[in-house]
Subunit: 289 residues, 2 copies
DNA sequence: TGCATAAGTTCAGAGTTCCTGAATTTGGTA
DNA sequence: TACCAAATTCAGGAACTCTGAACTTATGCA
């Protein structure tokens, strides 16, 4: 169906005659007449009572006009979506590494409501490597990941933020300073097999006495910080995560040589989103300390 | 805009490739490709990322698909409206003579909800002659009027019902029978200048003694019946109206020679509604005693 | 890495649709 | 009754759309 014919129909209904409608639509009367006639043929109804002049809408014709208006409004909004604008428009499938999702998502959605009111988002959380693969295969448009292991060449990355790692322990365990912690206390190790876990392991390997003390592996940040807050042991995590979950007198200790992970927004370098990557990233930066 | 192209787009999005979509749409791959390309040109956006094969929807493409589905649903319902069915479909502008509207409208709408769920109605009340003219000039599709003065030849009529006229008075005024009423009591005359009023005048003229007693003219049925119920005087009205408004001990007296008015549904004989007149009328008959 | 294959795109020509302008019909009006 | 304006019909030409073949290119397998 040609929406143009519906537009003609609505116009005729508005002005009340074929002649003036044809005039306003910049077409000949005969073209308009044929257009309506072909529409009537397609729908197999009489839209107009042609026994009078000018032809009058039939009852069903009036209903069709009503429906047509609704349809044309849909068309207008569809076209409007495509109008170039600096606002982000579209349906985006985004990935967030699990550890950052909790912190980044709410403020992201908040600022998206402002800067991209017509955009729609679909989220997925997972490991950095999983998300990278999904971006590569087109299952995701973009993902917030860490660049710890270096990104594949096909991906382009925009830095979202850097998160320094810190030790965290209950004050009462810190009387001997870091050396006491390392020597005697239980270490809570977050997901040793993932990107962030390997970074943590790499750092801990520098601190010799580790092999002698006890290590507990956990895949839940909140649980780790709950244990640390209770004074059961210590951990090594990105500072924002420590800040998010510490509730009691937990002390943070910076590393001798600062270690940090970098969060980046990764997209397919040659993908359709590439020109919009900066706009997307701008919704993410400046949202965490 | 060609809705067919939108249908193709939605199909591609559903099956995930141009080739299988083209197959299912019974068209060649090249035709489909050109269709989408022309749609992209019309909207001036890239719906697909063609750097991969099969091409993938871009974020905005996904949004367009979403909008397109809504639009196509509108189209479907528009086409559905036109499907021949025995139910009454359309937007009808109907007239009801004022005196009958109050009684006929509620049950009419009730049965319309059943028999014509997709029809829309617009109502207008007025004098029989006014409504007839509006039907003649196409301002109304049909009207319930009285055929008292005979209808113009251009109108066709379906009988909706016949309403006998009765005298009505409070019991206490009836002790002398009709002759007492006619001689001494105030007569409430409903709208003497209209069709129904002239019928009433015609009937009253038969009863000689009228000129001597008092007459009150009123254009409100409910008010007349309120006065009659209070015992202030008597009236002559269609029986259903008397029944509707009498609340106290009001007695009805049939006329010596029965007088009645006939309600008909009138439409333009050559109009578009003519074939549906019976269907419309069937929603009106059998609805009053 | 390079080839084979399948998937899309491009192109030219044919078929179809759609529009224009003139001729014709027809409802409303003087 | 005749006229006028409005709508329809018609024929020719312009514009669009489809088909089938040739071409290009991403992907998968050796």
């Amino acid at each position: 169906m040609q929406t143009r014919a519906l537009r003609s129909l609505v116009k005729i209904s508005a002005v009340g005659s074929f002649a003036t409608a044809a005039d306003q639509l910049n077409m000949t009367l005969s073209a308009l007449s044929m257009q309506i006639k072909s529409l009537e043929g397609e729908l197999d109804v009489n839209l107009f009572d042609r026994s009078v002049r000018p032809p009058r809408l039939t009852p069903i014709g009036r209903s069709i006009v009503h429906e047509a208006k609704a349809l044309l409004q849909r068309e207008d909004s569809l076209v409007e979506l495509c109008r170039p604008s600096d606002a982000l428009v579209g349906h985006f499938r985004l990935g967030f590494i699990t550890t950052a999702a909790v912190r980044l998502l709410p403020p992201f959605l908040e600022s998206a409501k402002q800067s991209a009111p017509h955009a729609m988002f679909e989220f997925e959380t997972g490991l950095s490597s999983t998300l990278q693969n999904k971006v590569l295969t087109g299952q995701l448009d973009a993902a917030v990941v860490t660049d710890a292991d270096g990104l594949p060449g096909a991906l382009s990355a925009t830095v979202i933020g850097k998160e320094p790692f810190v030790f965290a322990a209950h004050q009462k365990l810190m009387t001997d300073g870091m050396s006491g912690l390392l020597a005697d206390q239980t270490f809570f190790h977050f997901m040793p097999n993932t990107g962030i876990g390997k970074l943590i392991a790499y750092e801990m390997a520098k601190h010799k006495r580790r092999d002698t003390a006890k290590t507990v592996v956990l895949d839940n940040l909140e649980a780790i910080m709950e244990c640390v807050t209770s004074g059961i042991g210590f951990t090594l995590l990105p500072e924002p995560d420590v800040d998010r979950y510490r509730t009691g007198p937990v002390q943070k200790v910076l590393l001798p040589r600062p270690l940090r992970r970098t969060l980046v927004l990764a997209t397919l370098r040659e993908g359709a989103l590439a020109p919009r990557e900066a706009a997307l990233a701008s919704l993410l930066v400046g949202q965490h300390s």
